[in-house]
Symmetry: D2
Subunit: 312 residues, 4 copies
């Protein structure tokens, strides 16, 4: 369970309050607001706030005085055009703020997206929670043979069981020692009289990278789309993809027209090279082309054939 | 008048609509929302949208589950602490979006703040309005003698009148020729049959730098404070300071606690060098110190004495 | 002529000096260093400094202890891979600094690329030069009919001549009045005794947007490629494309392997949507597809056919 | 020892190569180039490349055609002026690239500086080294009583010994299990036949936060100064301060004039609030002021008295 009872109750209290506003509203996202959507074994994503909606994109693109919307049709046409031509600035006019709980090794990938604002829970100031990520058995896979940084076949039987034991034991021991070094538990109880306890900023170094951390993370829509296009992609590490997929549902609730355009032009699309386009033209003309005459490396050829749905 | 009747009516329509939201609200800023606050002779600033308020800063600093606020007192204490120690990330958790109409030569200064999102009215796509900035007579000043990039004494009589004539005539002629080259006026009327008209992206080069442009400009609170600390400063060019001062009022309505902290720590404060601090210690100890023994240049000494309210 | 004799001589002096360094070198770019490459009628681009070369990209991608290079072949393979998969961070490890002289209306487009460092010549501090851009006759075109923000057919005869006259006259008059208001010319001569002259920060507003400004502009290689992909594109305004094209030659001298990859994957490539890929698969399978059954708008269909080299 | 023999030899080979360049040179930094300066027990900082020097700052501030330097004196005057008035853009015209080996919990603090370019060693692609940070005994301190996120009194005797034992044992065990789960050691030997081994991107989560990682880190001088002002500060965590201090020496070698200005205006200086300045004026006038009448909180008053070198 990612939330304690008191956290859940704080959230419920917040959700009960409503107030009138003159600002753009996204009704479907209002429904989701503050709720913790679970990810992995102890993580979650919550939307804390948002600015703008599909109309706000149109309004900014037109630098208009009133609401952007004229007709839904026209708005969709304009948003598709902006997406297709990579006119990115109108999408920057929407903003969203999340509260996210995630394992540290995933936080380390995530933070590489520099165009966001972040406030992370401080392990210098506070005691870290006793929560760590243990993969579900169907996620335990070997190093991929074809892709040098991904996963391949599943681990099975005793090997899988041994991995799970190691991960649980080492994290549990690490946390026990963390408390012992702090000489204090989460409730603030001193463990051994006469000892001073180690500073939090030092003791935390004994935790393993699967411990959970939390942060507030705020980003504009354009940069969110970029994040999602990389992290909801099939080549992303499963554990970050799990977050990206939940966020895609939030995106759909927030800016449904933009979501459709994004799914068509970005998630479902592909960037082709000049060589790739030349080959496509020959294929359309009915020519047979083989990798050897393509001027492409084997890897590049395989990627192109995948995009074209051709067998290699 | 910065607005046409139809623009004013679009704004009124927007202001009449309200809808319930679960998000943080800033009631005093809601009152201002969408209204055009006039600046200079034809410019304005409008708040189009905002995210967060003083509580959101506290909430982010604590990475909390509920509303940040415990007591107003505590919130102010924390916000003062964050401001004093330049813990800037919680301020980045608030965002604001403006619609601004401003002369091009001011837009050129403004855009140097790179941490904002911008959508500008396009002179490639649309015809520019016939509106240009003419300074009020009390703004016509000579180059400063002491500060090599500011203004000094006022221009008077015939010299001032001549300046105003030049500015008006040249801008009027430039716009007339702009229309002639476009072969089209703002209403889309063709001026001379049989001529093709020059492309908008070219014709605009004939306009002078005091013509007005417009943009949507969105920025987080931390970067807005940085902008205001530079542009509401006495050394800023008057024409951009006029905008910054209107925006300070909006800041006060939006995040009153942060505004107070900002006015005390940033606008009213000063950064002192190690040399400056050493001199202050000597002065407090009752010593007399003169510029010659200070290790400071004359300019630096004068600046320090100003900060200390001492005569030079 | 974009340079005065004394500027040219300063540059020659600089070029004569050489010193040994342990850093990565790009010999072909060293040859170009400091030289002013002319653009438009009075503009130029100069490379002032650079950091890294193709090897530095490889070295960073491998986080290696020595020089990145193993074999040129392998380096090219890795750089192609990085470009294809949009692994952008290794390209950020190279940096280049330019000195650019350009018309203000182009500077206003250019500055929208926010990920660069800029120092612009200050019109608050200094007097602007008397140099303005007048398009060559073959650049005087009408507004495009098909593309709402570009150029179409050429202007001819009297209409073209009239445009050139207007541009020259208005800029000349504007500069004359600028000097008159300053009451000072570029050499610092006072024009009328007994007048104070208007502050520079004000007088400059009378200049037209085709006057030249200058700046130092520094950017990393990844962001430079993004800039060039937009500004060397056929849809960019001619006046900024002229700069981008000169910079492409500099890119080629600096990082020849990256340049090749960029020309193939980015400049010569295209981003296709999911719908577009589905149509390509059908075309390859020998099917006939018409716009009406494609699910695409007319504009989108025309763009796809262009990419595929098909008649519409 | 932070380097293996083969890494040291790669570095020596690099250092032996020199080539002529027309670019700005910083001779003292050339001497340091590529060398690994040790930090903590296994970490280091190496300068890999740099762009510009003190002259380049002056050159950019003047947007000049030749070398910035006129006289060293004038350059220092201008650089002091720029530093004092926070004219930051000329400092952005210099750039430096480091190779840094550091513990992961420090890397997590470091990466929060978003204005740098980073390439980190990939634990998805490669096996992590068996190197972890163990604090020196004189660094083992308790949580500070006065400052809620720092260190206070030293740990002693058995408590300190116990902490060191825990840290060593847990990191050693974590790495042993990491290898076991990978079913592969650093040399690529398979440990148990018939097992597949866990993907690297998963196995790494068992490592503790004191394991070392490495990255290439590139930043402009302005942002480097900001980083150093926060991380070489007495309130920074010791482990990151240790890096910042080594980098201050590199800064001094690279841009000695800027270094002096930075040490005076930033490291040795202080930002005072409006209230603080008012109190200073009263103190200089010979008045006695106590915290109770100051309008300041106790914490703020204590900080002011420290800056003024007064007893509280």
């Amino acid at each position: 369970m990612p939330l304690t009872a008191s956290q859940a109750s704080e959230i419920d209290t917040l959700r009960d309050e409503q107030a009138p506003t003159r600002r753009d509203i996204s009704p479907a996202l209002e429904e989701m607001l503050y709720k913790a959507f679970p990810v992995l074994d102890h993580g979650f994503v919550r939307v804390i706030d948002y600015m703008g909606n599909d109309s706000a994109i149109v309004q900014a693109a037109r630098v208009s005085y009133g609401r952007g919307t004229k007709k839904v049709n026209e708005d969709a046409g304009l948003i598709n055009y902006l997406m297709r031509h990579r006119h990115t600035t109108p999408f920057e006019m929407c903003e969203i703020k999340f509260h996210i709980k995630l394992p540290i090794f995933i936080a380390r990938q995530w933070i590489r997206h520099r165009t966001a604002n972040v406030n992370e829970y401080s392990g210098r100031y506070s005691i870290m929670d006793k929560e760590f990520y243990i993969p579900a058995p169907e996620q335990l896979a070997a190093q991929s043979k074809s892709n040098r940084q991904g996963r391949g076949q599943l681990l099975e039987g005793r090997e899988a069981a041994r991995v799970l034991d190691i991960l649980k034991d080492d994290a549990t021991r690490a946390y026990g020692h963390y408390e012992e070094m702090l000489n204090e538990d989460l409730e603030g109880n001193i463990l051994k009289e006469g000892q001073t306890g180690l500073a939090r900023e030092l003791a935390r170094m004994n935790l393993t990278l699967n411990f959970y951390t939390q942060w507030y993370w705020k980003i504009d829509l354009h940069n969110l789309l970029h994040f999602l296009s990389l992290r909801a992609d099939a080549h992303a590490q499963y554990e970050i993809r799990a977050y990206a997929e939940v966020m895609l549902d939030m995106l759909k609730a927030w800016v449904p027209i933009t979501y459709q355009a994004f799914m068509d032009y970005r998630m479902g699309g592909a960037a082709l090279s000049g060589k790739g386009l030349a080959i496509i033209r020959r294929l359309i003309a009915g020519e047979k082309v083989a990798q050897e005459q393509s001027g492409m490396s084997k890897g590049e050829w395989r990627e192109l054939m995948e995009v074209l749905g051709q067998e290699v």
